[in-house]
Amino acid sequence: MPLNQDVLWYKDAIIYQVHVRTFNDSNGDGIGDFVGLEQKLPYLQELGINAIWLMPFFPSPLRDDGYDIADYHSVHSSYGTLEDFRKLLDSAHERGIRVIIEMVLNHTSDQHPWFQESRSSRDNPRRDWYVWSDTDNRYKGTRIIFLDTEKSNWAWDPVSRSYYWHRFFSHQPDLNYDNPAVREQMWEVMRFWLEMGVDAFRLDAVPYLVEREGTNCENLPETHAVLKELRRRLDEQFPGRMLLAEANQWPADLRPYFGDGDEFHMAFHFPLMPRMFMGVKLEDRKPIIEILQQTPEIPPTCQWSLFLRNHDELTLEMVTDMERDYMYDSYAGDKTMRLNLGIRRRLAPLLENDRRRIELMNGMLMSLPGTPIIYYGDEIGMGDNINLGDRNGVRTPMQWSGGWNGGFSTAEPDRLYAPLIQNPVYGYPAVNVVAQVGSEHSLLHWMRRIIDVRKSNVVFGRGSIEFLHPPNHRILAYVRRLGNEVVLVVNNLSGAAQAVELDLRGYKGHIPIEMSGKNIFPRVGDLPYLLTLGPYQFFWFRLRRI
């Protein structure tokens, strides 16, 4: 299956997020690798996704799951070789799957040779590649992100007897983007991978590239200038490739990252995600509609990236204090589930393994404006292990079967990079791909179908959205539209059956065709269109004028 050559391919994409280490171990060393991932491409193709986003696979001391890169031009030996990666890339492309890789621009590992040189002497040519200071009093207006572990954004370096700046862990010194040599070097890094065939970068932690006194050191114009320059070079030299921003910000603050269509192609919509969970818990569309109404228009070539869960905690930075308290009480009653300002849990446990809620959330993910991202394992309802530290509880091995190590690896179980989920509800004997492939009504089959329906109509990826406001607030209803193509989406956020009357007078004469079963519903007339929905049920109707 050839790759779709449309330069706006990312608008129609369904992205699957996976860490090489977690997916499939081909050589029995207990760690997933490129060859193992390549072996599972047919599974992903069958699932229906058309892009994979690989988490960092570079050489790294792995003190932050690979986001502490020690060499940008190679791959971590645990995952294989650069050649293995090339083969994976080619195989994915042959199957019509694009490959998005991580690029951590903001910082390196403190083990990176650049930092080792930088700290070695104040006269070293790379001294100015990082942000050094004789005091820890600069940039006082900057918040600390990892509140649970870090007390300051400055760390003392005993080697060069000065402080270095870090927005994340202290072992992740920030690069100095005021230095032209750094900017040039990081473009060279990106070009290295683009020339190999990588389709897109997810650029990590982009708001923090540049620091300025008297500011909060986030979203600065100087940072945008750096990013625009990267984009200009990308478009010139590698048209059709894509940049995805990781910027955990409010929609209005995110908007500048799209620029005039000349900065990022895509950006994660962080504030929407917790509000989807909140809406379902509250059984009220209010938080979802509110945040989407606050979301500014973006250039036509740009796209939001939507997700339910990812490798990090369910971040609650972009909610009010009251909303955060509510989310904690609702979804993380056990305080060990909380991390930083978030909840370190997977989708299925968050939703109490309620299949109806899992389907509803995925239905909204696939039908709201943006490109959906599925976190590996969520398509089969994998669980988590909150007894593992940090965010490792949501990064356990993929559960392929009920056999040895869940089919993930042939290694001795205690050699696995992390233990498999073993509990009776979510453990690999109960939740695995083989079992779900064999069951026509499994979550996996349902996910395949919903992805198929989503891909059947470009309106989901590219259409406008118009919210309906039925008096029943438990119903979230909207119309997606692209030219003459119209899709009506009706979601019941409640755990009880609901009746709703929709004002569809603007679509009088249209015949709703339910997109999953292809059944036609009564024609839209002058009267309010009455629908009844079961608990957490949703409908996608194609409105046809025939």
Binding site: M278, L282, E283, D284, R285, K286, P287, T320, M322, E323, Y326, P470, P471, N472, H473, R474, S494, A496, Q498, A499, V500, E501
Partner: protein, 421 residues
């Protein structure tokens, strides 16, 4: 279940859209445009501040307002409340309205609210008077005992002028207390809270057949809570401007309160006849607070109304009252203004004899209630004079003495009740 023919289709449609709620605020209205906007804003602010996570609805049962009251209720924007109070709403807060007729009927309004509470499975409900502004935390004070502490019924205590609510202080409170054994200061009130469970039971048990013309539904609710052994508490709401019953309004007020109380005594005889003494009720905040501003009293007019009533209604009183009681009243009626005094023990005996006669229906029950009006005016005059220069605690002590007198003479009431069986 609520009578399926009782609610309009439009109202039912609105209820369907609201769905299950945790909190329901009922507003029975009739031409309250002057006050209702600020009351709804205060209610919404209270819900956002104190119950941000709860599913809430404001239900307006309107008796045919012609001043746009319902539109004002449904038109209050929660965004205005949020802006003013810097509050954040997690949920949709609904305000819906239904018109049940073209004139205000308390029973129908409350029945509508109760039916809505049952259909929406409301866990805690409050009914607020639409006539005067409320303090911002009133909603919390009425709801919290139900949501947090498991009470079924919450009555208010107000900061009143010392001579406000004389019918309550001189009859309804002390007699309810003596009969049912609970010291509920405001048994007849327009602001109260109740559990959804109690609402459903009351809705099911109450006879609504002649309901649209019956009055005093709020007092019936209080008495039902007592008779049903519901958990009851009081909460101090502070100031509440009250629309005083003018002279001409006294008879309707007596019908709503005394008439309701006398009616309930029949059904509740086993309960109240077996009750001795009285117990305090759990109370949040002070159990009384009075304002002491001087008040001009038209003693002459009150005395004249009493005296003329005693004279004109002598034939009626002969059927209601015992000869000694009537003789004593006639003696008092002959006293001049300076000597006038209607003592507590005689007042209690009068009321009890009225109650017993009401039960026996010696004459039309409504005539019995109406004929109490001049006597109440006489008692009110004595209370006003006795307490004109009294300090707050002295007034409270006098009310307490009256209550004790009601309790002391209760065996006399029981005796009369049984004697007339």
């Amino acid at each position: 279940m609520a009578d399926e023919t009782f609610l309009t289709d439009d109202f039912l449609r609105q209820l369907v859209n609201v769905g299950e709620v945790d909190i329901l605020i009922g507003l029975p209205t009739h031409n309250n445009a002057k006050t209702i906007g600020s009351i709804v804003q205060t209610i919404q602010g209270g819900i956002l501040r104190w119950f941000p996570r709860e599913r809430a609805v404001i239900i307006n049962a309107d008796g045919g307002s012609r001043d746009g009251t319902p539109e004002l209720i449904t038109g209050v924007s929660i965004d205005d409340v949020r802006r003013d109070a810097n509050l954040h709403a997690l949920r949709t807060l609904h305000s819906i309205s239904t018109r049940y007729g073209n004139s205000p009927i308390e029973t129908v309004a409350l029945r509508t609210i109760l039916a809505a509470a049952e259909l929406l499975q409301a866990k805690a409900c409050v009914v607020m008077s639409p006539e005067c502004s409320i303090e911002s935390d009133s909603i919390s004070k009425l709801l919290r005992p139900i949501r947090g502490d498991g009470f079924d019924f919450v009555t208010p205590i107000y900061r009143r002028h010392k001579f406000e609510g004389l019918l309550i202080t001189n009859l309804i409170y002390p007699m309810t207390r003596a009969l049912y054994g609970l010291r509920i200061r405001e048994p007849y009130t327009r602001d109260f809270g109740f559990s959804g469970n109690f609402a459903s039971d009351f809705l099911a048990q109450q006879s609504w057949d002649g309901g649209s013309n019956e009055s005093g539904i709020e007092l019936r609710l209080t008495l039902a809570a007592i008779a049903g052994h519901r958990r009851i508490c009081q909460t101090f709401l502070g100031d509440r401007e009250h629309i005083e019953h003018r002279g001409a309004d006294l008879v309707p007020a007596l019908r709503q309160t005394v008439g309701t109380l006398f009616s309930a005594m029949d059904a509740d005889f086993k309960l109240w006849s077996a009750t001795n003494g009285s117990q305090s009720v759990t109370t949040e905040g002070p159990d009384h607070e009075v304002l002491m501003e001087p008040l001009r009293i038209n003693r002459k007019r009150l005395r004249e109304m009493f005296a003329s009533g005693v004279a004109e209604l002598a034939g009626v009183f002969q059927q209601i009252l015992s000869p000694p009681t009537l003789a004593e009243l006639q003696r008092i009626a002959s006293l001049n203004e300076a000597e006038f005094h209607y003592p507590a023990d005689l007042w209690v005996r009068t009321v009890y004899e009225f109650a017993a006669s009401y039960r026996k229906s010696v004459i039309s029950r409504d005539h019995i209630i109406q004929s109490l009006a001049p006597l109440f005016r006489g008692r009110a005059l004595t209370f006003l004079v006795e307490n004109r220069n009294a300090a707050a605690e002295e007034i409270e002590s006098n009310i307490e003495s009256l209550c004790i007198e009601f309790e002391r003479q209760k065996p006399f009431l029981v005796q009369m009740w049984k004697a007339r069986e």
